[in-house]
Assembly symmetry: C2
Homo-oligomer: 221 residues x 2
DNA sequence: ATGTCAAATAATATCGATATTTTTGGAGAT
DNA sequence: ATCTCCAAAAATATCGATATTATTTGACAT
């Protein structure tokens, strides 16, 4: 690293920083689906060397956000209706399993976390804060975390990100169609606090299916 | 690459070669769980540079076969009963979904594939061929491939590999306790050919649970 | 005009060296 | 003896340069 500690917090390695930045660029659509990702171009954009860029792209490959064609470099993963619907299906299957396990492990500390995350999400939404996306993910992940199944949690997190990408692409930004999302979140929260696994999972899946059908209807083929 | 084309087939990039070799070393336990993976050491072992090794390790991180501690290098992923049981649970959940989707898309070409893979597996087993592991995986993946859900298929493949690692670790090699595995495979195959999704998934899950309980009983904590 | 092949160009993949960080080991103080 | 701190050693992460491979371009033949 250089003499001066960067203005921006560079707490972690260059590789990790590049990973986070590139992921954000792809999720938000600033690097559109199918775009060729040239090392040199990204190297300049991220102000770093070729090795960290290359490693970050390798990691994103495993997140299914980047495609690698051997000896022919990297490109942003393509999108499509079939892919979107597979993501939706996997989310319903995996998040149901995770939420049920979470509720089985329910305790007071977890309930506190849920209430807190839900509150922060509402707060961010009211202020139209750009942090809403983060808070929304934090709430959904809090629902699942208590399962204490790290791999399952990781899959759900990955799939969440893949899904959010479609939302950005559909809207040019994170614009929820203001169906009564707040009420849906409230129902999920209430059922989880009641430790009613059937109701909670039903609400959760309904929540995803609705958003899914809307986005799916916007897509061709 | 050097002047002489390697005796061994080096069809792909050094990175990909390193990835496959390292994955094999970890799956078979030659690189035991928790082992520190030093770049220099692997560089010499694989006869390649630091960059391909590093990239291969990054990829294996996403396969959950390698753990990365930032600024502190890589190590082979640890193992444990909880991890094993999570893998087992996820396999049951995901493979059931995949097999049901596969059967829904059933056609003659798929049935042919199944029969063929099953035959090859039996053949490899009879000859006590070391290819049995590959043939076994090929049969199981053939059951799922017809779902045409690439992400789901990929998860299942990943989880299959994670599971096989425990088998190697438990036995020092791929030794199935000779319960009547052949009969179990036959039941799954027959049900799939009958397009009986309920029976096929029941047999499949039973197949996993049995192996799982046996391996789980061998593990501490 | 069009298709083919070869040279020129551009991009990737890999290497070797350096800078940074972590870990180790030992001297001195309590 | 044990703990703390600092220097030495080792390992990681990163950079810059080179070799390799893919792509483009344009000349030539059909």
């Amino acid at each position: 690293m250089n003499v001066v500690t960067d203005t921006e917090s560079k707490e972690t390695s260059a590789t990790h920083g590049a990973y986070l930045k590139l992921r954000d660029l792809i999720l938000t659509g600033e690097l559109p689906p199918g775009e060729k990702l040239k090392i040199e171009q990204l190297r300049k954009l991220l102000q770093t060397g070729a090795s960290p860029v290359r490693e970050a792209l390798s990691l994103l490959t495993s997140d299914m956000l980047v495609e690698r064609i051997d000896q022919r470099g990297f490109r942003a993963a393509p999108v499509g209706k079939a892919n979107f619907e597979e993501i939706l299906m996997l989310r319903c299957t995996l998040e149901e399993a995770a939420l049920r396990a979470s509720i089985q492990n329910a305790d007071a500390a977890w309930e506190d976390q849920l209430v807190l995350r839900h509150h922060h999400m509402k707060r961010a939404n009211a202020r139209k804060s750009t942090d809403f996306e983060d808070a929304h993910k934090a709430f959904h992940m809090a629902l699942l975390d208590n399962a204490r199944l790290p791999m399952l949690t990781r899959y759900c997190s990955q799939l969440y990100d893949l899904n959010i990408r479609y939302r950005y692409l559909a809207a040019g930004g994170p614009s929820y169609q203001k169906r009564d999302i707040a009420a849906e979140h409230q129902s999920i929260l209430d059922a989880a606090l009641d430790r009613d696994a059937d109701a909670a999972t039903a609400h959760l899946i309904e929540h995803y299916q609705r958003t899914g059908e809307y986005l799916s209807s916007l897509m061709k083929a």
